[in-house]
Symmetry: C2
Subunit: 196 residues, 2 copies
């Protein structure tokens, strides 16, 4: 149950067996069925989440009722609403499960205590945030400077397993295009791959 998260952490810091035990002791597990909510816009959450199994999406709903997906999270990814978690202001996003999912939850106070007891977790979360920040910047660049064709191509190249796994409607929402355009983008991309 904890193999994946410990491997995830070992990418940036090395824990002693005692530290691993302590870390595991503060985690709580949570199961979500497909379509169940982890967090709804306006909630106040006190947790960050590690995906052990499944797939979730973070999204917002505009005034016209249109969903806009900010992020997907599959196994070995962290998710949550950082803004909400840090400021304890109402969440700006909704997070729900696209597949039956299993999560490990890290509570805010437990995390603050973890930073004090095992300060190298500062380093771990600094690295995690660096990568998340870089990914966010890439997404911004893609959105302001790329055509729908190029955005689709980047998505498939960066997240090949997600493209197979996610409903087309969700991918379209993430890329900011109409679902009916997706098959055209996919066919353009396949043609491009053949030429390459």
């Amino acid at each position: 149950m904890y193999d994946l998260i410990l491997k995830n952490i070992s990418r940036f810091i090395t824990l002693t067996p005692e530290e691993e035990q302590y870390f595991i002791s503060i985690l709580k597990s949570k199961k979500l069925k497909k379509k169940q909510f982890l967090l709804q816009e306006g909630d106040i959450t006190r947790h960050e989440y590690f995906v052990n199994k499944g797939c979730l999406r973070t999204y917002t709903i505009d005034e016209k009722g249109q969903e806009h997906i900010i992020q997907f999270a599959i196994e070995d990814w962290w998710t949550g609403d950082m803004y909400n978690f840090l400021t304890q202001k109402p969440a700006r996003y909704t997070i729900d499960a696209i597949e039956d999912s299993e999560l490990l939850c890290l509570e805010k106070n437990a995390l603050e205590e973890l930073y004090i007891k095992i300060p190298k977790f500062e380093k771990f979360f600094r690295h995690l945030l660096q990568n998340a920040f870089i990914a966010g910047q890439s997404r911004i660049i893609d959105m302001i400077s790329l055509s729908a064709d190029d955005r689709y191509c980047n998505f498939v190249t960066q997240y090949p397993s997600m493209e197979k796994r996610l409903p087309k409607k969700q991918i379209a929402s993430y890329l900011g295009i109409k679902p009916e355009s997706l098959s055209r983008l996919r066919s353009n991309w396949l043609k491009k791959m053949k030429r390459a």
Copy 2:
């Protein structure tokens, strides 16, 4: 010269006078005249930068030669290409000065050594990254879910001093709209403010 950066750091960690001295000793200063480059797409940088004075913009140029602004940075902000800095792969952005600017530069090796000598800087940069990540997510939401009118309104509300200071063309590029639309958005916003 170091007052602003020390105040910036004191928001998240407390340094002893000796630690302050050590930190200051590893900083280098750099001046840029308006329109001078700090970093060009393709360069490999080994620095993160703190803005002591002035204003810079981070942008990318698409295949049609169109500039897309990712971020502005004014006094008391950090800037740089995190991806480039961390991976030492060629920069994906260009950064130049919109006004005559004064920067403090933190070199990659010096920063790695700083983390070892004064580990609480892990905490400082974790906080800085948390805020940058949240700002990036807000920008993504704004771009996928808001109208140009609402994007303009958010920008003016969040960064009132920047709106007065920046050339209209730069604001339009940041918001992903045509410069000629900006006066219409501004007039809509003023009407909205009057009604409020």
